[in-house]
Symmetry: C2
Subunit: 274 residues, 2 copies
């Protein structure tokens, strides 16, 4: 299996760190059977595109490719920030279209973007004009998954309010975000899991690959402040675990299928009609 | 005495909160003899300009006026973000010039901007193009005091590195920030205090008007996270105390004098020559 994830957001929102965190999983063991072979150094935001790592999730091998979008939203005038992103997504659809139309099309590599993580600055206020503009350009081309970046900036009360504000903005602006599909034959446990996941949208994420010691002596991936330790894998602190689970476990197939069966087909139809 | 402080920075950087924190001081007593009479509700960023509060600092009455700059940096295209800010500063200089040139000029109210707090987003990276552009437009018109907003986003190590990055950027770009003047007759204690202040530039600020309980049972102004409590007035947590001291105690006079004797005179000369 392969999964191609695009990452969009202004510089300084912790994107590079979050991706390294996604690839690494828990370094000190734990439930997930993941192992990582990274192909390069994730330290520089510029080198990241694209970056590939092989993960193993519950015995299933997964090649995760991340496509970064350096410079997005970083200029004084960001009117054209959306263009390189749309070009990247369309370019990959075109590549697939071409391969489908060729004589030998038995094993087409799927380089299409299966999910787009859109990083929202934790302002506490409404979505910015740039966020709305870009998400509206993206949402019918790719599975859009907005996340609240550096969510340790917000208290629990602020986070709850911010999630509500974002959900309201998204609904008001008609922005379609990725919805885990529900199947009539889903068992009760799956239904409950999906509902629990959706209730947490947009996910509040924190990233870190450093191991730090908590006051009660555990070694965890987290951020150490003078006033305490934020833990990446602690669901009381952020939704990182849920995000990772959605991407590489519970909805990996849905993301790929929705891209292939709906989003790509729409693109193909529009291209043929124009 | 009056002090006019302009506040510049994108929406969501905690400007409104910081100003309320500056006005309020420690609510549960403490060393400073400050009392506050606020003139309005600081909750909405739009209502804030200008906002006046009367403080009493060590028996000295001070009228603190804050001028906000709503909408700065919040658009997709921020090429003209600087204009309303420069117009505001120039307009106040013009007002003073006019009053100086009038017949009755015995007691001119000083509405000039004595200090400009420029809020820097805690990205961990270099200054943004917008920050550099705007600070370069401001620095010769007003006492420029850049501050790192929401500094509880950064760990101690990140904050140290970020301050160095900002200081390097500022020097490289030739941006002049407010320098506390040193006088040859300053006593050793004053010299040490000034040096200590300057060593902390740019100040890392956190704002809060909520009283929260620390794990060791103190009630403090701060932010309560699941992993700990950040304290506004704790100098181990941020430089709020130093910022407040610079503005309303140790360098109040320097800010007003430098505005009157240097910055305003430059403006006047340039205006008469053009
Ligand atoms: N508060 C906070 N800071 C973070 C988090 N993740 C990364 N950072 C810090 O934010 C800064 C920028 O991170 P980076 O991953 O380079 O951001 P990018 O520019 O979006 O790729 C660095 O100082 C990181 O250590 C997070 O979850 N919370
Ligand atoms: N992490 C953090 N959040 C803050 C701080 N000060 C304010 N906030 C929060 O940031 C959000 C925006 O604050 P606000 O003062 O309205 O920002 P403004 O738009 O710049 O005026 C609110 O949720 C505040 O509670 C701070 O020092 N640190």
């Amino acid at each position: 299996f392969n999964l191609n994830v695009m990452v969009v957001g202004e510089s300084g929102l912790g994107k590079t760190t979050l991706l390294t965190t996604l690839f690494e999983t828990r370094l000190q063991g734990g439930d997930s059977q993941s192992a990582v072979r990274a192909d390069g150094d994730l330290k520089s935001t510029v080198d990241i595109k694209p970056f590939t790592a092989d993960l193993e999730e519950n015995g299933v091998k997964l090649r995760l490719t991340v496509i970064d979008t350096p410079g997005f939203g970083d200029y004084v005038n960001n009117s054209n920030s959306w263009k390189p992103i749309i070009d990247e997504i369309d370019g990959r659809y075109d590549q697939y279209l071409e391969a489908e139309n060729s004589v030998n099309r038995s094993r087409i590599p799927d380089n299409r973007v299966h999910a787009c993580l859109y990083f929202i600055e934790p302002t506490g206020h409404s979505l910015k004009p740039l966020d709305i503009n870009v998400m509206r350009k993206l949402h019918q081309k790719v599975n859009l998954i907005p996340v609240i970046a550096k969510s340790d900036t917000l208290t629990e009360a602020e986070l709850e309010q911010f999630k509500n504000t974002i959900r309201t903005d998204i609904a008001y602006q008609g922005i379609q975000i990725f919805q885990p599909p529900r199947y009539s034959d889903d068992d009760e446990e799956t239904q409950a899991e999906t509902a629990e996941l959706v209730a947490k949208f947009p996910f509040a994420v924190i990233g870190s690959t450093e191991l730090v010691a908590t006051p009660d002596g555990r070694n965890v991936r987290g951020r150490q402040y003078p006033w305490g330790v934020v833990e990446v894998d602690n669901e009381e602190h952020c939704d990182f675990v849920k995000l990772r689970s959605l991407l590489v476990r519970s909805h990996l197939e849905d993301l790929r299928e929705h891209t292939a069966n709906a989003l790509y087909e729409n693109y193909r139809t529009q291209k043929m009609l124009s």
